[in-house]
């Protein structure tokens, strides 16, 4: 296997369910050692894409490799080397933590099973609760245990499907620091999420909506490619203002952000022209804002919907 190669390199991958195209012409390249964010709203095809990468679903068309192995013909090799953490908890709730880890260690034929499991329990901090049934764990602990379980066989690539969904902010932060630690050891991570703030934590990312990849690159590149200009407004009666702004030419997004309003558009000149009368008003204080990834993604999604409709 070529060391410089991408750990994931797929092109033109399609998947339909019952005639509905769920993933369209997916192109994706993930480099070794990077944390690759896979973003998109619910039902956009993230899980389906990840399942195709690790051989759980067969693509209708397209080709590609995962860790250098063909995603259609060499799924057995891929499964042995990839750690896949499913979106829905899919370990056995009626088995204890230790029994689950033991099961997974045996599944991957770990020669030093006991040691591996003991170490994993220690790292998790669950040594004392190892006999507790997995079904009785809280959401955050289940996620951590699932991560530990898919890490037992020291995979070179982790596929994490919404690992932080429904987890409290503290646990989310811990989870991400763990992912950073892993990436630092050379493990590549593909992580899907629909939390926009997590996008910024990734080295590179791809944004998918309705089965189509709409943007990809480093967070910086994605921001720049969108070419979005954003203004921030403060003042009284922002609700009425939002309603008025929405219909103006050049205004593509009006999103409330706490006590402010974010007004964005791709045509900076047209946007400036439209908001000029309101900038003159003493009721509002306008300032140029740095558009966030969230603004960009909402923009991309609405564009996609307009084009699709």
């Amino acid at each position: 296997m070529n060391d410089d190669a991408f750990v994931i390199d797929v092109a033109g991958v399609n998947k339909s369910f019952n005639g509905k195209r769920v993933v369209r012409d997916l192109d994706m390249q993930v480099r070794r050692g990077e944390i690759y964010g896979f973003l998109g709203p619910n039902g956009s095809g993230k899980t389906t894409s990840i399942r195709m990468l690790c051989g759980l679903l067969t693509p209708d068309s397209g080709r590609g490799t995962c860790l250098g192995y063909d995603i259609i013909r060499e799924t057995a090799e891929i499964k042995r080397r990839v750690g896949y953490m499913t979106q829905r908890f899919s370990l056995y709730e009626d088995l204890s933590i230790q029994e689950n880890l033991d099961f997974m260690a045996r599944m991957y034929g770990m020669p030093n099973r006991r040691q591996v499991v003991t170490d994993a329990l220690q790292r998790l901090g669950l040594t004392d609760r190892r006999r507790q049934l997995a079904g009785t764990l809280s959401g955050g602990w289940k996620q951590r245990m699932a991560l530990a379980a898919c890490m037992l066989h020291a995979p070179q690539l982790l596929l994490l499907d919404e690992p932080t969904a429904g987890v409290d902010p503290k646990a989310r932060r811990d989870f991400w620091s763990e992912i950073y630690t892993l990436a630092a050891t050379g493990i590549s991570v593909l992580v899907s999420t629909h939390y926009m703030d997590e996008a910024e934590r990734c080295h590179r990312l791809a944004y998918i909506a309705d089965g189509r990849l709409l943007a990809r690159g480093t967070p910086q590149q994605v921001l720049e490619a969108a070419g979005l200009t954003t203004w921030s407004v403060e003042g009284e009666g922002l609700q009425q203002l939002a309603a008025q702004l929405r219909d103006l030419p050049g205004v593509e997004q009006v999103v409330p952000f706490g006590a402010t309003l974010h007004v964005s558009g791709t045509d900076a000149a047209l946007l400036a022209q439209s908001i000029a009368p309101y900038q003159a008003s003493a009721d509002y204080r306008w300032s140029a804002a740095r558009p966030g990834l969230e603004d960009v993604f909402i923009q991309l999604m609405e564009h996609a919907q307009d084009n699709g409709a």
Partner: protein, 378 residues
Amino acid sequence: MSLRGFSWSRFIAMVVKEFIQMRRDRLTFAMMVGIPLIQLTLFGFAINSDPKHLPTAVVTADHSVFARSFVAGLAHSGYFEIVQDLETESEARRMLDTGEVQFVVTVPVDFGRKLLRGERPVLLVEADATDPSATSNAITALVTLGQTVLNRDLTGTLVALQPRQPPYELRIHRNYNPEGLTHYNIVPGLMGVILTMTMIMMTGLAITRERERGTMENLLATPVRPLEVTIGKIVPYILVGYIQVSLILLAAWAIFEVPMQGVALLLLCVLAFVAANLSVGIMFSTLAKNQMQAMQMTFFFFLPSILLSGFMFPFRGMPQWAQAIGEILPLTHFLRLVRGILLKGNGVAEALPHLWPIALFMLVVMCVGLKRYRKTLD
């Protein structure tokens, strides 16, 4: 499907996991012990193997002393309760059909006179033998009755007519059921029925449960192979099968006093039979979309097994097509094995012809199951 790449480690992972889950699942435990107990009680105890006072109609066209003695002898035996003394045969037949009586005894015209002439008149006994265990002992009593009942009347010059052979010919028609099973058949046969039901039901849920709980996704993401999953799920239930067999054999021996021979050979045959049924369960669970469907399939298989295997109805009494289906079913062969070994003392040589059809059945079903097992979530 190939044996190459079979991993003991993954296989053991499956077996250990299944054992733990089985131990923690109360329903499985209840089924393991509850079903044999309930079935044994229902089939074993509810069947009175030596019923007496069976309703009997007598059609007497002869009023000789001999005819009266015979009828009195019937009543005296305790097995027959004369409920009707009829004149016409058609009325008697109707009562037999409707089940109002279990026996119709017809004493023909001139019975007495022919008897005296030594012509051995025919005494017709018609039995409703749909439930053979209900009639067989009564019929036996009837035969012995013939040896003695008329001895009192055949005195003096008539002593010459006293039987070696009874002075009349007793003709017995076992209607509806020519074979006439004995009650010993029931309890050993029950073993096969119980195993069929519980084994298929338990494994039938095995893979659908993984799918419904979402654990299938994790399982499929590991390098595990179909053969490792299926055999890994079968092995723990073989033990369950043996626990059930022990329970039933114990009950058969201690409570129902079924003769016991060749238990070692029987336990070997149980292995084949249990494995065959477990394969059926696994196959069903690869076909079924959910647990409900798996249950339905179980019953779809269970019914013909009970009806066409010779458990409910004597095998040779069934029409040709039904026998053909029956020959395929593992239960048919297992019943022959159990009855042959326990009751007749059959050995390995007699058992083999019934062992290989079970093995063949298992092989075919296993292959179908493995072929249907999907390695992806598609």
